[in-house]
């Protein structure tokens, strides 16, 4: 008999409860009818009265246990469900009184089950404080009706004992009239009660122990707290108190309350933003740059407000655009808190069709920054995320025209929480993707267009630009992502150049602004491996290049708003390097040194240690001096591969200091040598200076150098090496596949010097044009005017 869609009337599930009810009521009725009259007369009226009261109690509790809602959670609303459906992790961790408790995602109910909640397959509901599903009452036993169930068991045991003993009394007094109806019935009742007494009393005792320990049947049977600490216990007395005397919990399922609706009418008040003014500037010098200046109590410096940007679209349009973008961004994100200490069990969710909305604050909390700098920082990041979103749209042929309008579209003047959410989401998503990547669940990557395809593969289909953008952004902020992304990419493209690193291009100001945020991020995410952020290291370099090349333009810009004292070490290092580079360039220009790029011909120069012109040329004094100061120069750097390898080894061997010493001069060699080497145990400092020295010795090996590309190739290579070195040092586990790849590639390169083009670190480079495309680690492609 079909009652409603999917709900069939199953008579079988009512058999136990009917049996139980029949037995209970029937036996007791018979007892009262046949045994009690004699008892009233012979013993006292109190005995049947007592039995009557107990029986009433049993019935009441039985009814409550049967008909009371155990604490069923209603299905999650669509909106809440949307962002959760997108989650990668099957489990979410939460800390209860210091104990990590796993919350499992319920696919039926579409939420993460609260602690102690479980899904009953019979009832097809998640039940709060799920104990078990009792067939005798045909109901789940949960938070709301556990007390009644427990009291039912207690009272039933008492009742059965009472009935049995009364019947025994009767029978003992009527031994000679056993064949009598009354006696026979009494004996029958005695048999029934005696028979069921044993399991009922056993169950009662079991539950008494559970109550004393503060556990549910589910937890006891599944052995959750075996040998562990039960975080839900309140002590024996507290537990008993809780079971017996706690207030009756409310029902969640029925909401017949008619609430008067609240009118929501614009215009809306906004909180006072006087202490954090946010201004977005978009400068157009061929670069996508969005600069946000924020004035806040934090150490984030204040930018001078200059209205250099062209008029921006009206606010309303921005809302729409923003909303769409944000929705898309949020939809693509994977909110979810992943505790690093928990063995991750990730469920790959292919259903990326639905777009989730934000948001899991728990995760966001992890990612977000402290209070005061948070607002501007997050907004900035969000804006950046939007920028990055727009950038992947630039394919190879498009690089020439930086669409400023896109920047405008994506950078909201109205800075509300959306950027933050997208940022947080993107970070979470990046984290999720990272973990997915490590789990190897990524689909196969198609090496179509190197610029974006690897990352397309990395990210599931959907708003790719969002992901790419956000991931590239995340690579800066969440360093742990970049190695994973790179590792997966490398793993998927064994034949491709190992340069999965695409440093996200950042405008100068962005780079500067990121500094403090990155620093904060790194402070906040200390549980993550302190993977040196390759991207920021690169971006300043790229920035340097951009700045150097467009020095007149850059001078027109405002001075960097970021104070250097609050930037992270790596950022500082990279900025220092950039400065050094600029200085070198200036010196070179002054001294008339040839600056030939070796971009297109780096492999050709592998046979000579100083193959990279600008690189080697550019680091005359500073690195050399520093290298000298670092340690003795190893011998035989006259172009031997061993030297390079040694240098690479040295580089690899380095951990944090690599970031500091990632000079341009070293970089080109590093890309090859570091790829080549696999051993991180070699002496670090010795190898490095040698490497640099070797480079310095042969600055003139630039087979084909087009002045059009003075520095970019070397920079990209440097960037590559930098990233590779850093990632090698910082994520050894991910270094394996990458190294292998690199090694193979390196070997190939070393063997055939005739490679006309180096394996592009970032695919899609056009060395012959005025704009270079650099793919960031997250797959976002940036344009760099050269």
């Amino acid at each position: 008999m079909l009652n409603s869609a999917g709900k069939r009337f199953k008579p079988t599930k009512y058999i136990p409860v009917s049996t139980a009810a029949t037995l209970l009521v029937g036996s007791t009725t018979l007892f009262f009818v046949f045994t009690c009259p004699w008892l009233t007369k012979a013993v006292s009226p109190a005995l049947p009265l007592y039995n009557g009261v107990v029986f009433l109690f049993v019935l009441a509790n039985f009814s409550m246990a049967t008909f009371m809602d155990p604490g069923v959670y209603p299905r999650a609303n669509e909106d809440e469900d949307k962002d959760d459906d997108f989650r990668a992790p099957l489990y979410k961790n939460v800390e209860v009184r210091g104990v990590q408790v796993r919350m499992k995602w319920c696919a039926t109910c579409h939420f993460y089950r609260p602690p102690r909640c479980s899904h009953c397959s019979v009832c097809d509901n998640c039940v709060e404080d799920f104990d078990h599903h009792c067939p005798w009452v045909n109901n789940c036993i949960g938070r709301r009706n556990y007390r009644y169930f427990f009291l039912f068991l207690l009272s039933l045991s008492v009742h059965m004992v009472g009935v049995f003993s009364s019947g025994l009394l009767y029978v003992l007094h009527h031994r000679e009239r056993l064949a009598e109806l009354q006696t026979a019935v009494t004996m029958g009742v005695m048999c029934v009660s005696g028979l069921f007494l044993v399991p009922v009393v056993g169950l009662t005792g079991f539950h008494m122990v559970l109550v004393a320990r503060g556990r549910t049947t589910n937890e006891q049977v599944t052995g959750k707290f075996r040998g562990g600490v039960n975080p839900f216990t309140r002590g024996c007395r507290g537990n008993v108190e809780y079971v017996l005397c706690s207030p009756l919990a409310p029902r969640y399922t029925v909401d017949l309350r008619k609430k008067p609706p609240v009118k929501i009418q614009p215009p809306f008040l906004r909180p006072d933003l006087s202490d954090c003014q946010i201004i977005i500037k978009v400068s157009d010098n061929g670069l996508h740059s969005t600069v946000i200046s924020s004035k806040s109590k934090s150490s984030l410096n204040v930018l001078d407000e200059t209205d250099t940007q062209p008029p921006l679209p009206p606010k309303a349009d921005r809302y729409n655009q923003l909303k769409n973008q944000i929705t898309a961004t949020e939809e693509s994100s994977l909110p979810g808190k992943i505790h690093p200490s928990t063995p991750a069990m990730y469920k790959f969710r292919p259903s990326f069709g639905t777009m989730p909305k934000v948001h899991y604050h728990a995760t966001g909390e992890k990612i977000m920054m402290p209070d005061d700098p948070k607002t501007p920082a997050i907004l900035e990041e969000g804006v950046r995320a939007h920028d990055y979103r727009s950038e992947p749209n630039l394919d190879l042929p498009e690089y020439g025209s930086p669409p400023l309008h896109r920047t405008f579209q994506s950078s909201p003047l109205q800075l509300d929480a959306y950027p933050a959410s997208s940022h947080t989401l993107s970070l979470k998503q990046a984290h999720h993707l990272h973990q997915r990547a490590t789990k190897g669940q990524l689909p196969a990557l198609q090496p179509e267009t190197l610029s974006s395809s690897p990352y397309k593969g990395v990210f599931s289909p959907g708003p790719l630009s969002n992901r790419n953008g956000s991931l590239s952004y995340d690579s800066l902020l969440n360093p742990s992502v970049s190695p994973a992304a790179i590792a997966t990419e490398l793993a998927a493209h064994p034949g491709l150049p190992s340069m999965g690193f695409h440093s996200p291009y950042l405008p100068t100001k962005m780079c500067h602004i990121r500094g403090p945020e990155l620093k904060r991020q790194q402070q906040q995410q200390q549980q993550h491996q302190p993977v040196v952020v390759a991207a920021p290291g690169y971006s300043p370099l790229m920035q340097a290049r951009g700045m150097g090349r467009h020095s007149p333009l850059s001078r027109e810009r405002e001075p960097s708003p970021v104070r250097y004292d609050n930037l992270s070490q790596t950022i500082m290092a990279s900025i220092q390097e950039r400065k050094e580079l600029e200085e070198r360039e200036k010196r070179q220009v002054i001294h008339g040194r040839p600056q030939t790029p070796a971009y297109g011909h780096d492999p050709g120069t592998f046979d000579s240690p100083g193959g990279y012109g600008p690189a080697s040329a550019c680091c005359p004094d500073g690195p050399r001096g520093s290298s000298v100061s670092r340690g003795p120069t190893p011998p035989a750097y006259g172009g031997s591969r061993d030297n390079l390898m040694g240098a690479g080894l040295g580089l690899y061997g380095q951990r944090t200091p690599v970031s500091r010493h990632a000079t341009l001069g070293r970089a080109p060699r590093t890309s090859s040598s570091s790829l080549h080497t696999d051993h991180s145990s070699t002496s670090s400092s010795q190898g490095r200076p040698a490497f640099q020295e070797g480079l310095y010795r042969s600055p003139g090996h630039h087979p084909h150098s087009s002045p059009a590309l003075p520095r970019s190739p070397s920079y990209t290579n440097q960037k590559l090496s930098y990233i590779s070195a850093l990632e090698r040092t910082d994520s050894p586990r991910l270094g394996g596949p990458r190294e292998a790849m690199m090694q193979g590639k390196m070997n190939g390169q070393m063997d055939c010097h005739a490679i006309s083009q180096p394996p592009p670190p970032s695919p899609g480079r056009h060395a012959h044009k005025g704009v270079r495309k650099v793919t960031g680690v997250g797959g976002t492609t940036y344009e760099i005017s050269v």
Binding site: F57, F111, E241, P247, P260, P261, V262, H361, G364, M368
Partner: protein, 158 residues
């Protein structure tokens, strides 16, 4: 919810639902009902942090009061037991009383604080006490493009 949204769309100066923020439960003290007071980033520019935190803290206090095991709950349990739970047909439990207080408080907060800021707080009981759902509305301008077909404006009757 749907009805409410529809009404909002009918408003002349329409506000449309843009986003929903979910404030999750704080399980750090066990399964007692408590919500996280962490300020969601999406509300950064919509409502003052202090107001939000105060709302959540007040709600937490309400729930703590509802779930408190003390003299009142003892009495309630004894009375219920002794009347074979028939008392539940006549009286409402302590928890239900507090829930009514909470509903009133949320209504008042919505009217005074959140609706003027384009936000709407949903009673957690409607979500199974798992989340506090905060709906964010945006000003779409005086829209004729609203999908509402009804000509009545600002009809609040359900």
């Amino acid at each position: 919810m749907a009805t409410e949204f529809h009404n909002l769309q009918e408003l002349r100066h329409s506000a449309s639902l843009v986003n929903k923020v979910f404030v999750q439960r704080d399980y750090s003290e066990g399964t007692t009902c408590k919500f996280q007071t962490k300020f969601p980033s999406e509300l950064e520019s919509r409502v003052e942090r202090t107001l939000f935190e105060e709302t959540v803290k007040t709600l937490n206090n309400f729930y703590a009061e509802a779930e408190k095991i003390g003299a009142h709950s003892y009495l309630e349990a004894c009375v219920a037991c002794s009347t074979a739970y028939l008392i539940f047909l006549c009286m409402e439990t302590r928890y239900e009383k507090v829930l009514k207080k909470i509903a009133k408080y949320i209504q008042e907060q919505n009217e005074k604080v959140y609706a003027p800021r384009g936000l709407l707080i949903t009673d957690p009981i409607d979500r199974g006490m798992r989340v506090i759902e905060i709906s964010i509305y945006e000003d779409r301008g005086s829209s004729g493009s609203s999908s509402a077909s009804s000509s009545t404006s600002g009809s609040t009757a359900r």
